[in-house]
Assembly symmetry: C2
Homo-oligomer: 440 residues x 2
Amino acid sequence: MSESTTALDLLDAWALLTPEERAEGFRAMSRDEQDDFFLSLQTDDQAELFRAVRPGERRLWARLLAPDDVADLAQYLEGDPLRDELLSLLDEATRNEVSALLAYEEDEAGGLMSPRFARLRPDSTIDQALFYLRRQARSKEHALETLHYAYVLDGEQRLLGVLSFRDVFAARENATIESVMTRDVVTVHESMDQEEVARIIAEHDLSAVPVVDDEGRMKGIITVDDIVDVVQQEATEDIQKIGGQEALEQRYMQTSLPALVKKRAGWLALLFLGETLTTTAMGAYEEEIASAVVLALFVPLIISSGGNSGSQASTLIIRAMALGEVGMRDWWRIAHRELLAGIALGGILAVIGVARVALGEALFGTYGEHWLRIGMTVGISLLGVVVCGTIAGSMLPFVIRLLRADPASASAPFVATLVDLAGLVVYFNVAQWLLRGTLL
Amino acid sequence: MSESTTALDLLDAWALLTPEERAEGFRAMSRDEQDDFFLSLQTDDQAELFRAVRPGERRLWARLLAPDDVADLAQYLEGDPLRDELLSLLDEATRNEVSALLAYEEDEAGGLMSPRFARLRPDSTIDQALFYLRRQARSKEHALETLHYAYVLDGEQRLLGVLSFRDVFAARENATIESVMTRDVVTVHESMDQEEVARIIAEHDLSAVPVVDDEGRMKGIITVDDIVDVVQQEATEDIQKIGGQEALEQRYMQTSLPALVKKRAGWLALLFLGETLTTTAMGAYEEEIASAVVLALFVPLIISSGGNSGSQASTLIIRAMALGEVGMRDWWRIAHRELLAGIALGGILAVIGVARVALGEALFGTYGEHWLRIGMTVGISLLGVVVCGTIAGSMLPFVIRLLRADPASASAPFVATLVDLAGLVVYFNVAQWLLRGTLL
């Protein structure tokens, strides 16, 4: 609202600027603005600025970051000499915290958490707690990640309960922490997958969740603002995989053209190889096509209908799995539902398909005396193909998850490739059955 | 961690239970557990429980909810007699707050915000602020949504600055609010779309953002835990649309079969009608197919490659747009990038395609003396079709956004349908050009 509109403007324009323009904009800010600005950047942008500033300035920036943010930056700079420089600039206590965090995988709870949180003893009074919290709030050196909650730990660092600031404020000053704290705490394990952590935080509407180890000792906290990034990032990865490609590591505009091609070429070539089976399959029906060319005309229509219905089913199931609404044990109920949905959807397309053939015949006489048999072939095939699509699309995510891969790889193109092959077999078999003795 | 593991267990199992089992589990809890449990539920589940409890108990539950949650519930119950009962159970002040919130659209900032936040005057002292905040924290009747921040307003309710609790704690007791507050506040406008609000909160790593009107008067706050739900929900809608269907209103397992078919049938039938054009297009080349049936065998392979490359491009662009990484003005840069990506990807598939034809000829003599011309036809068509795919896939989201619809409707099936048609035209024209005088 006031002096540093420049900082907000710069952040808004960030994605569109060249590295030089970014460094220039950054230098034009006051020191205070620079602090806030640097802290609000994503890890990749922080790395870029960290590289751009003078070596003498780097210590200031390194010490400004919270330990979990330093750990993210160090992970991002893996293999870069800047990484060691970054770690060497920290004070010893922080370096120890960062080293502990670097032992976790990036996508598990331990890799997301901050080791700095407000700790209280169960037998302290509210008055003592307030004194301690004020001192903590004033400390610049080892600032707490958040002041929303204070955690009550026993001598072995085991988590006994939690107090919100509202609880601290609302309690009488001589009450003991133990008598005021909430004992019923939602926790996550240090090795829990970040997607699961996000689900728990969203489900319970928490602003922070404590991370514990096997013995129930508290190791850190994960705050909901870190979770927003996780949720965005996981959805982005899923959407990119659903599109039939590997997830990008950076934003689309920041991904180089060779990297972009590399992420797409693998799946595209694999699907292409799978799809060459359709050529083989159609080769088996070459004779039928030669005697009734009209059969070939409906091939794209029929196989694409299977692909479309499969793509609908697979995206529904992939997303429901990612949100934890659907688990492995639901496969049978879902197969049943999707069978019925496939019959209904296939029936609708069959009616439109037959009507399309009848219309072509009535207006232009396109199909000749056997138009009704051709129409029935198209209609019955559509019903079969759409059912193949809904079943393949809904079951493929389960199969992939059973193989311990990401169900999101059951992409629209993957399902379409499977169903194209099934669709051709269904179509030509229906044709042989209905047209034998007339067109064939 | 202690007595109410039942409540956490029930929440974990929630999605899998019948309404009767849910009500039963709920009744088995203590009153305190019921409170926490009810508050942690999503709106649709709250509505279900609200309906299940005795009319006499409903007042208790209605008064437990914050005004923004009551507004969500009332919006959910639109058209149901329970809605009026819900509103009639509130005290007058809350009813006024809820009515004001109901004037906003569900998916704009005003519809997400809570009207209850901590207000301070610029000329108060920290000591006075602490006194006021403690009183606020103790009030059960009109509890504040959050105590992370206090907002400094002038006499006309215009937002002047913000204090975090850390600031309040860290300041000297006789300092004025004005001297301690941060003036540089990120705000959102009351009519801003919730997706944009989520982007701003994520970008600036905020735990809450104030909502202001045209005159800069503060109307409420949006906290980051509401945003996690928004981000999840928006991603779900996008993923479902990318699958080629309308977004569901409820979870997959809770959507009835007729509703599920209805959400899918519209797009499926529309895409089917679009795809019937491929039959017309292939009809135009009926003569060519009759004289060289081998041409028909490659049709599924070629059109699916275009669809797959288009699906990759459209999902990348849809997601980058949703995250605000890409705007309308980037269309030309993206068209350029995707043209180059299409040439690279199409080139790779062309090489594999020609190799496939050569291999078929070498092993089985499938294609006869003209195998090289057939191979070249397939290879050149693949290059053309994949470029059509990347361009159509990347530009369709821009076209749809220009028409003020959701770019996520540029679904994989929609792009595939467009590209199927283009692919057929490319393929048969290349065939006419290369095979004229030999096979044709």
